[in-house]
Chain length 427, copies 2
């Protein structure tokens, strides 16, 4: 039976000793691991666990469930010095604690410009105005009467990894790549709503506007809106979370998260871009020559190793090690991910596992035997257009270091002999 909770530290030591002594648990073949599994049943403590001898809580305890108390450190985290206030800040997804491609709703990164708007869905309206035949106002119930679709998409903030432009700064992929999540959205194609209003022939651009007090707005080209944009009201099956724009958000697949306007209250149709604050002083990439790249909407192909990583060191010592991470591209699917353990001298194909959906996260794995020596880990993704994820230095050569946005450079983790991991740069 399982071990007792009363003397777990002693019995774990016994197990490890037994495993080391027997060696018999180390099986052959590609799937074997040098685990602490052991074959000596006599080492088992006589007690059984408390949870095997007592009644647990009943089904009336949690109408809406929550994680185990033992997972209390699996949370979003913010960086206090990053912004002036918590209402205009970021809460990062703990990528190092997750697996698969779905981000649970409670851990989806959040970024606001005036805090979380708490919208009453009964009173919420969406207005379509501007270059349309019939300006329209929709209730949430109206919107839900259009044909719905379900799509799994990643959402990445343009500023994800932005703090890394000037060198390795933050110790943990939660902070360096954690402005991303991936859920299944349910919504209505924006195309249907626009067709209901009737587009005038000179309509070329949209300006979605948020219902928060920041009134977040961006210019979106009409072609994108008609292609694959959604008005989403559900994520992972249930209603959008307040911090994700409840009750209605714009979904702009593959494009920077700032355009996915939350608490969506209005879409104006126009014939040219508006050049709002959020696409001039912000969300443009300042180059070395003082000019800015504008309309850099697509999130280019990128990847990161989530384990091992600074917040998730190797605790088991030498031997079989599961390396895992995430890859994505705003242009489509990810065709391959390569891994290096030695800072780029040798590359190995990672195994992509799970659905490979366009503009969604892809999960990759690379299993290897660690000999206990230091490692320089990198992942490099290639997308379905043939685009290869660049190094940070390659990006800097082209764009300089003034920018905050669109850093999709290769991340390097330095694994030390003791299994700890640091964020480093190599050239």
């Amino acid at each position: 039976m399982v071990q007792s909770t009363n003397n777990s530290s002693v019995s774990r030591r016994d197990l490890l000793k037994a495993a080391a002594a027997s060696g018999g648990a180390l099986a052959a073949g590609s799937i074997s691991v040098s685990a602490a599994a052991e074959s000596n049943k006599e080492n088992l403590p006589p007690n059984v666990a408390d949870w095997s001898t007592s009644l647990g809580e009943g089904v009336d305890t949690n109408p809406y469930g929550k994680p185990s108390e033992f997972e209390k450190d699996v949370v979003r985290r913010s960086v206090r010095w990053l912004t002036a206030s918590t209402e205009s800040s970021v809460n990062f997804t703990p990528l190092h604690e997750l697996d698969g491609i779905i981000t649970p709703n409670g851990l989806c990164f959040e970024r606001h410009h005036s805090g979380v708007a708490e919208v009453n869905p009964t009173d919420h309206r969406l207005m379509i105005n501007g270059l349309v035949e019939k300006p329209l106002i929709f209730t949430m119930e109206d919107i839900m009467r259009f044909p719905r679709t379900n799509k799994i998409f990643f959402l990445e903030c343009a500023a994800n990894s932005g703090m890394e432009w000037r060198g390795a700064q933050l110790n943990g992929c939660q902070f360096t790549q954690g402005m991303i999540h991936c859920v299944q959205y349910t919504g209505v194609r924006l195309k249907y709503i626009l067709e209901e209003a009737g587009l005038k022939t000179n309509a070329k651009w949209l300006m979605p506007e948020g219902g928060d007090s920041a009134g977040m707005n961006r210019s979106v080209p009409l072609a994108k809106a008609l292609d694959d944009c959604l008005l989403a009201f559900k994520m992972n099956g249930e209603a959008l979370r307040p911090e994700q724009g409840y009750p209605l958000r714009l979904v702009v697949p593959g494009w920077e998260g700032n355009m996915w306007v939350k608490w969506l209250r209005r879409i104006e149709v126009g014939d040219m871009p508006w050049h709002t604050r959020e696409e001039t002083s912000k969300y443009t990439d300042l180059m070395e020559n003082g000019k800015s790249r504008r309309f850099t909407w697509v999130m280019d192909c990128k990847s990161v190793i989530t384990n091992p990583s600074p917040q998730a060191p190797i605790n088991h010592g030498k031997g079989h090690t599961v390396l895992t991470g995430l890859a994505w591209s705003g242009q489509g699917t990810v065709d391959r991910v390569d891994i290096t353990l030695d800072g780029g001298k040798n590359w190995h194909a990672a195994r992509i596992d799970g659905p490979r959906l366009p503009k969604a996260l892809h999960r990759f794995y690379y299993e290897f035997d660690w000999d206990g020596s230091p490692l320089l880990l990198q992942s490099r993704a290639v997308d379905s257009t043939g685009y290869v994820q660049p190094t940070k230095d390659e990006l800097r050569t082209v764009r300089g270091t003034n920018s905050i946005y669109h850093n999709n450079g290769i991340q390097t983790w330095h694994v030390l002999k003791n299994g700890e991991v640091e964020n480093v740069e190599i050239s």
Copy 2:
């Protein structure tokens, strides 16, 4: 702009009046809806909503997020008279509130036999014993060192719809079909763990055993274990929830949920089935002749209309109506779903939208114009083996009405003139 929260009832009435008067919002074409959208901007109230004029909560408020207060009724529900105690009971998924194919972790139905075991993952062990070359004991960390895989699967209790064998009884798909959920699991193939222990040549059956005080156990044929069973430790990206077997559960794709042993502490390998309590006095189907069907593991093809349904009436009156629901098969994918509005006289192909993954939920839609007359709604699914979901009467003809389990019969909803919906039977 959006309406004020201060006078929403008045302004909604205005909007509806305006829509009725103008009629101009009812566009043509297949995607149009007879919505309350309207073209008269003068009817808008002068105020803007509170949430558009004040700061919301900052990112330090919810390290682990939660649903909007306006969604507080979207919860799992239990039926008190169904079982003797809450520790041995069921909490049903609110299917009528969900969309897409992913069930959020907080709303996954739960069923226990001695309450929710609160397991400390550090102290948890999995033992493999019986007809193996090397009995082994694994820590959670050991298990996570095997190659992982990610799969989206439904889990359905064998007793789902069990209360309907003797006629329509419960008003709501949460209660009639809500013993089901669908998440992305991350885990290790059971095959790898068994290979590590080394199967003896006479090994033919497994008995997984739970770490709860019920010590839940079932006989699983080895062929299934080697085919697609997983030892799962994550669901929808994060750790399993306690009520779903944290930290480790067996995943038996397409087979009845009772076999997906939670809080998994031991797997015994044997040469014949054990005939435990849970596969003799329970989870066998008592026939009219007094004999029981045994080993009825597969969950056959089934579907249900989730909206409209008794808990989700039609509130918008006549006109464009979105009908949606779920279909699934333990044998593979769902090839088609047909819908009848008139109790089976005429059938119409539903649109299946979203990923079509084997042994996962499928989401279907059927949009129609409701003329306000009573309807008898049914959905009928056909899976990739050609199996057609039967009527309840067809099932009763073969199996009688003594059984509790494996009722995959067609569900009928009676829509009344006022939009309310009842659970009925027709023959």
